[in-house]
Symmetry: D2
Subunit: 97 residues, 4 copies
């Protein structure tokens, strides 16, 4: 499955960049396949491994703030691994772009 | 934490009511505190118990279809249990409604 | 269409209740059909009227903070008006609850 | 503001690639700054121009199906234009990646 994951502390000032950097380090160290984008990170893997990464980011942020907001959008398709790098190229080709 | 949870099969016809009914039964049987609303269900509990309910719904839907879409919006606030029934009343009071 | 709408200022402290109260007043005064729930508000109407309410809440919050986060999940179904009050009851009935 | 935008027809079979291709063409032709990613498209611009693109995609899909699901996550920050290409690089730099 692919998960579009976004996390932010609530009540920690307008800049979220320190929290985003913490999450980036956890994601990068996790070994889970991923693509950062401007509004979140797409993670690809099985339920347990992807959710472990999300939970680790959540627990890390809760060490330094007391409220966290998380958004997850999941696309789970049986028998369709390794879609992360191909979805955009495939859609662009179909669109003739 | 409170999670706004929504799940739908992809490619199973325009009516989603059978899948929603399956999810309702799993949620109701789980014992996890919840409130159904028109666009999803708010679940309240610890990470592990809430995610177990979401995963059970996911696995049930994948028995009869091959692609599932899930949306989760999480509000995790330390030391703030039992907010589910009080958030709307509290906001209405503050709004003078 | 039905829209699950959530809005929050970023960097304004941990409590969001004042902003939520502002949004509640705008929604209530708009005349657009709605249901508040613990994680957002379901709005029902045509694209233009629903989006006008969302935009009004956005502009109001930006008067007192400089960064706002909004989540919208839209279910747009042709020829299906007045679903807001009936969706949960219908799903519960199908689930035998 | 930046908007993470995702759209899908409901009840049109498991493959969404034709609809995604239609949306890609509309987005590309709109002139609005954007980045496609595996789970959606990040659009950057003022409220009116971004929402016009979303509405155009919605209306196009409703020509060939009768139910559409849309997700929008908006990050609206005053005085912060042209963030689309810089957010990931900035977060990576802060994370030391």
């Amino acid at each position: 499955m692919i998960v579009d994951f976004s996390i932010a502390p609530i009540g920690h000032g307008e800049s979220l960049s320190r929290s985003v950097a913490e999450a980036y380090r956890i994601i990068e160290a996790s070994g889970v396949r991923h693509e950062f984008h401007a509004m979140g990170t797409n993670l690809e893997g099985e339920w347990d491994e992807v959710m472990a990464v999300v939970d680790a980011c959540r627990l890390r942020l809760l060490e330094t703030c007391s409220r966290v907001s998380i958004s997850l959008r999941i696309d789970d398709r049986k028998g369709a691994p390794d879609r992360l790098g191909r979805k955009v190229a495939s859609a662009k080709a179909k669109a003739g772009l």
